[in-house]
Amino acid sequence: MNTLEEQIAHWREYVRRHRTIGSRDVAELEDHLRDQVGELTGAGLAGDEAFLIAVKRMGSLDSLSLEFAREHSDRLWKQLVMPAEGEHAGASRFELFVVVILALVAAIAIKTPPLFGHDFDNHEGFYGRNLGLFVLPVLTVYFAWKRQLGMITGGWLLLGFVAAGLFANAYPFAPHGDTEVLALLHLPIACWLLVGVAYVGGGWFASNGRMNFVRFTGELFIYYVLIALGGIVLTAITVMMFESVHVSPEWFVRGWMVPCGAMAAVIVGAWLVEAKKSVIENMAPVLTRLFTPLFTLVLLAFLATMLFTGHAIDMDRNLLIGFDLLLALVVGLVLYAASARDEHAPPGLFDALQFILVVSALLVDLLALAAIVSRISEFGFTPNRVAALGENLILLANLVGTAWCYGRFLRHRGSFAELERWQIAFLPIYSGWAALVVAVFPPLFKFA
């Protein structure tokens, strides 16, 4: 790969974040930029020189004024397109307005079922199954608005959410049954793909879009946890203060503050990730770097323990899902390390560490798989076991491919981009499997 492609990718990424420019317009500008670069290189300029001049000729985008603050030299072009401080206050204030409205909509959405007799205490199952459906459509609307999504894509997304709503509510689940729990765990994962389609602005296959969505998912999670921590403090202080004057705020905290806050925080978090991207850009990768060695150690220690004691994994009901979570976490560590990595950098120590992590996760997964299979052959199929098995097979396939790509990369036989493509290709598979669990498992196992 040449540096020109990389620079164009940086540029595209930067312009795409710009609120005034939709993804369609970016495609148009990129075509233009490439024409310009092509002509300049044809005239004898080097790729990076041509790129700088082409960006300069492109002028300040949408007549935003230039910002001449000097930055890192490989990001020189940024100075050519960066808007001056405060130029964009009007547009961002409007966005804030939209975000506040959407957060209110999400908060109100979770309070509407009680109007129809579905109060929280007596309809836990209903709330559990629909938890994602209160807020994810609103989040999708936010991105559809921001990315100026077309009617057709919007229609398909709507259809997806309607289908999700039908599957969550039309089935006659046995109360607290396994299939109901599985459905409520998997529905948000299936719906997250719909959010993703809106996030990438409909262009699912456009370069970088899906990796950006992966980044967004990680950053949103971090923001959400931070907001939740603040929320806990707020809740505790509210309770403490009102109880000191012998007024119980419980009905308000339990009935309004926590549910409405939890819903609205998703929208606000998404907006923060979008708006403050550059500030906290590196949060997920930093955590990844911190925890990759630690998880590698734990996995190795676990394998060593099993080896020396000779104990097999004793699979009880909860451990099944627990192991899947562990492996999903390893995939996440690889994914977020990949999302922040410069794909042209040569393999380093951290890559070797990641490789060890993947291989040890692979071994643990094989052991867990053996335990699941033996349990199934002993006690037969239950929805939980089949779901755990399916997830395990998907993660196994992912980890095998990851190990393969990493191995090639470490021996200088392949590029890091291969690994990235492999990981990205799995995104729809996760959601597809989750959709399958939601839609097919309940009738298959008679809604037990």
Binding site: A27, D31, H32, D35, D62
Partner: protein, 112 residues
């Protein structure tokens, strides 16, 4: 010779429409065409052209279609619409009027 900002802005719409009257085109080619036609004196920046094109699209004076370039990239093509042609006719009349008026004045000035 450098054209004044106002004049560049005012002439943008008729120029784009007139170029599209020759046939469908896309942003980069339009800029090239303007540069060639003006003998290099009219150098539009790209940051200026696209807002103009998008405004014309919003006013329904041009329509757009995504196609592919020779090298297989996605490319947005612009086509003049019927109301675009009408608008161009109207603009042509206006420019002719300005042109005649100025000519009259300057011709007199030379004679005097």
């Amino acid at each position: 010779m450098e054209l004044g900002k106002d004049l560049v802005a005012a002439s943008a719409t008729p120029l784009v429409l007139a170029i599209l009257l020759e046939g469908d085109s896309y942003g980069y080619a339009i800029i090239k065409r303007v540069a060639t036609l003006s003998g290099g004196h009219l150098q539009w920046t790209d940051g200026m052209l696209y807002p103009v094109l998008h405004r014309l699209e919003r006013q329904k004076l041009v329509s757009t279609k995504w196609g592919t370039s020779d090298s297989g990239r996605r490319r947005k093509y612009y086509r003049i619409t019927k109301s675009g042609r009408l608008q161009l006719d109207a603009q042509r009349e206006q420019w002719r009027l300005v042109d005649e008026t100025l000519r009259g004045l300057w011709f007199k000035a030379v004679k005097a």
